[in-house]
Amino acid sequence: MWRINLWEGTELVVAEFHKKIKDAFEVFDHEANNTVDVREIRTIIRSLGCCPSEGELHDLIVEIEEEEPTGYIRFEKFLPVMTKVLLEKRYRPIPEDILLRSFEVLDPSKRGFLTKEELIKYMTEEGEPFSQEEMEEMLSAAIDPESNSIRYKDYIAMMVVDDG
């Protein structure tokens, strides 16, 4: 008896995931022909609650793309791969305290802030570097123009609330 219930449960979960993935895909399917531009696929994956690194994304996209990349991703290929990702709960989001800890690592003297230059240096030279556009966008929201620094605790608090 319990085995049958388990099976039903999984089916329901999968069905739910399918609908979720379809909705997210449709937001970017501008021509309503079940394809999206490959550049938008990163956004779609992230909008489904995943938080992969650039490297992980790259590997995932290789799975989803056609053998001969066309610049488009088809829904039929995307759905099974993404469903597996959601079922396996891959690429979980980063908890707030870990995020705070990361900023603190970059601020070893515990001042409570990073200067604009420091932020730029870390974000564009370390990890998986930001593009110029990404850097500018982050600076516009994060940097307090008077002190020319980012008070990261406040910044995180602001972003997390906004994220819903």
Binding site: E16, T43, I98, L99, L106, E128, E137
Partner: protein, 688 residues
């Protein structure tokens, strides 16, 4: 107690490359945050689009009703000479606005731009004079306008402006004023929605008179008095010109009909407002009597074969000759097989072949009459699509969707290089499609809301390579971060969506109940999404929007009754008419105004109580709304009526603005209203 993940990270930090890992983590988190923002932006865009298109379809559905109104309330046209009589209009001495004298000189036109920038208003006498001269000028011009880059070195093509004067001023500022060396083509839709349509028209017509060879205007689907009734120009004119507005509207109707249908640059680039069909016939287009197409609204609905009570074929602005059976095309063209099911069924992908060229020799049937006006409809209403083929444009209710091969066909047939069109808003202000053979250019920035989209214009030199310039005319947007921009626009979209949901409360309750067989009062969020879509038909990704529409839902279920109650609390004011009626009226709010303006045929601002009741009864029966006579009387009474049996239109509409205002009054946000919400300085009526 630390979680295993926490501990792992903790340990890792103390290993080598700690800052590398920290940076990578922050970047990962940030990219996800930006992705969520981008998704919200797209969803917001979709909300606006689908509500707008749904609104357009509404209008299409009401077509029969509008036709009836037009027939019964349109004034007879024996007062033709009225609008020619502008010379007797006196301009008072204390008038400080711009003055025009004819023939116009370049500095007059430039002075107009400056005057309007300073928010001055042009006196009705000059408006009428200008329109009169414009008409005289347009009458001599051909349907298809030809421009050459030999004379002007560069040609700038602008798309829809929709009454947004700021964008026009910005374009002239950034690109330069029109001159013999700087040619302009404005590709239709100058008016409606925005609040300064009149000023835009004055500027455009003035430059056209001053530089007839270099300054050209194509007609758009909004250069049409039927469309103007609903989308704002009529209201704007009557508001700004209380005494002479009627005259202005009448001559404007005529002027619109005389606008060019298309412009050809160096015989290589075709510029028109909407698009093309799979039966393009430029020779026919060049020869037809363009001024006979008073409105493409009626024609387009005619073609879809709406079997309705479209009465008095002769008296409607355009109609096929009497004796022509309704929907004839559907049944008689049966020699062409159609694979998409019933030809005129609702929502069916109508096969274009069904609406093919009519057979000759039908009794009382003029072949040319039908064909050519469809050419005009196609040009003004069509949209490109990615799929191959050509099918009826069901979203717009007129024109078609044309695929890449249709474009290819057109270009080859007439030896053209590419097509420039407008008609559709694009987030970046422009978009190429059909392998870069079709360019959509849209010049009204911040169209839905501050920060919603950019505008663009395109320049062509002798090599005819398109060079695109983008902009956002509102200085404010530059100072906002992306996050703030998106929040603002999103709030606006969500407000519209809340309104729509509220207006369908009863239907929604019904649908929710269907999903709650056990009467627990709860439904799953999945069921919620399905129910909402089946009622609203907006085609929105409801699961993506769920966080904004449904408050924290524990364990994936929703108490639907309290959700609906919350909706109502947001929308209803204290003193209101019974909720079902209010919902219905609210749902049809965009239409009410148009209906009233048609009913008020002499533009006096008053309609009689009888006309009001008649109109309302007819409206309810067309919309299958069950409203008793008593309800209508109650409604009339609750609005302040002068005892002389007339209803002041403005008071009626104010009643709805009040409801809207009081529900947003408690709103602590300072978001500006969307540009298509009416708030032309409305003041509350004194007796309340």
């Amino acid at each position: 107690v630390q979680s295993p993940i926490s501990i792992y990270y903790h340990l890792t930090f103390h290993a080598e490359f700690a800052s590398f890992k920290a940076a990578a983590l922050i970047q990962r988190w940030y990219r996800r945050y930006m992705a969520r923002l981008e998704t919200r932006r797209c969803c917001t865009w979709r909300i606006f689009q689908s509500i707008e298109y749904a609104g357009q379809q509404d209008h299409v559905k009401l077509h029969d009703f509008f036709s009836y109104l037009v027939d019964h309330f349109t004034p007879n046209s024996n007062h033709e000479s009225e609008y020619d009589d502008y010379e007797s209009i006196e301009v008072p001495d204390n008038y400080t606005g711009p003055r025009l004298s004819f023939p116009l000189l370049p500095n007059h036109a430039t002075a107009l731009v400056e005057a309007f920038r300073l928010k001055q208003q042009l006196h009705a006498r000059y408006v009428l004079n200008l329109l009169h001269e414009t008409r005289k000028h347009l009458v001599q011009l051909p349907n298809i306008n030809r421009v050459s880059t030999c004379y002007s070195e560069e040609i700038t093509v602008c798309g829809d402006l929709h009454g947004q004067l700021d964008d026009l001023i910005f374009i002239f500022h950034k690109n330069g004023l029109p001159s013999p060396e700087r040619a302009y083509v404005f590709n239709g839709d100058f008016v409606d929605r925005g609040k300064e349509s009149v000023e835009i028209l004055m500027i455009l017509f003035a430059f056209m008179l001053v530089y007839p060879k270099e300054f050209r205007l194509n007609r758009g689907n909004h250069e049409d008095h039927m469309v103007n009734l609903r989308y704002g120009l009529t209201k704007e004119v009557m508001h700004k010109y209380k005494t002479h507005g009627k005259k202005i509207l009448k001559i404007l109707q005529d002027v619109f009909c005389w606008l060019h249908l298309a412009t050809l640059v160096d015989e290589k680039v075709l510029i028109l407002h909407g698009g093309v069909s799979d039966m393009p016939d430029l020779e026919l287009l060049a020869k037809l009597d363009r001024h006979k197409v008073l409105t493409t609204e009626v024609v387009s609905c005619e073609r879809e074969g709406r079997a309705g009570s479209c009465p008095g074929a002769g008296s409607a602005p355009w109609a096929p000759p009497p004796g022509l059976p309704r929907g004839h095309r559907a049944s008689r063209s049966s020699s062409i097989p159609c694979s998409c099911g019933p030809p005129w069924g609702p929502g069916a992908g109508r096969c274009r072949q069904q609406a093919g060229p009519p057979r000759a020799g039908r009794r009382g049937f003029r072949k040319e009459t039908i064909s050519w006006s469809f050419q005009v409809v196609d040009i003004l209403w069509s949209d490109p699509m990615a799929q191959e083929g050509c099918k009826a444009n069901t979203v717009r209710g007129g024109g078609c969707y044309f695929g890449p091969s249709v474009t290819e066909q057109l270009l080859q047939k007439y030896n053209l290089q590419f097509l420039i069109r407008s008609h559709e808003r694009k987030p970046e202000g422009y978009e190429f499609c059909h392998r870069r053979k079709v360019l959509t250019i849209f010049s009204a920035s911040n169209y839905y809301e501050v920060g919603s989209n950019r505008g663009a214009y395109v320049k062509l030199g002798p090599a005819l390579t398109p060079y695109i310039v983008q902009y956002q005319a509102n200085k404010e947007t530059h100072r906002l971060t992306m996050r703030q921009r998106i929040s603002r626009v999103e709030e606006s979209a969500l407000r519209s969506l809340w309104e729509k949901l509220f207006a369908s409360s009863l239907d929604l309750l019904g649908e929710f109940k269907k999903h709650d067989a056990d009467k627990t009062g709860l439904i799953t969020l999945s069921a919620w999404a399905e129910a909402v879509e089946s009622v609203l038909h907006l085609g929105l990704p409801w699961r993506m929007l769920k966080p904004q529409l449904v408050n924290s839902s524990t364990d994936n279920t929703l108490e639907y009754k309290s959700w609906l109650e919350d909706l109502a609390k947001e929308q209803l004011s204290r003193e209101n008419i019974q909720s079902s009626l209010l919902e219905t009226l609210y749902r049809n709010r965009p239409n009410l105004e148009a209906i009233f303006r048609i009913t008020d045929s002499d533009h006096s601002g008053f309609i009689s109580l009888d006309e009001f009741r008649q109109t309302w009864k007819l409206f309810s029966s067309h919309m299958n709304i069950d409203i008793t006579d008593d309800c209508i009387c109650d409604l009339a009474r609750s609005i302040d009526l002068n005892r002389d049996g007339h209803i002041d239109i403005n008071e009626f509409l104010e009643a709805f603005r009040i409801v809207e205002q009081s529900s947003t009054e408690g709103d602590t946000s300072d978001c500006p209203q969307a540009t298509n919400t009416d708030n032309s300085g409305c003041s509350k009526p004194s007796k309340r």
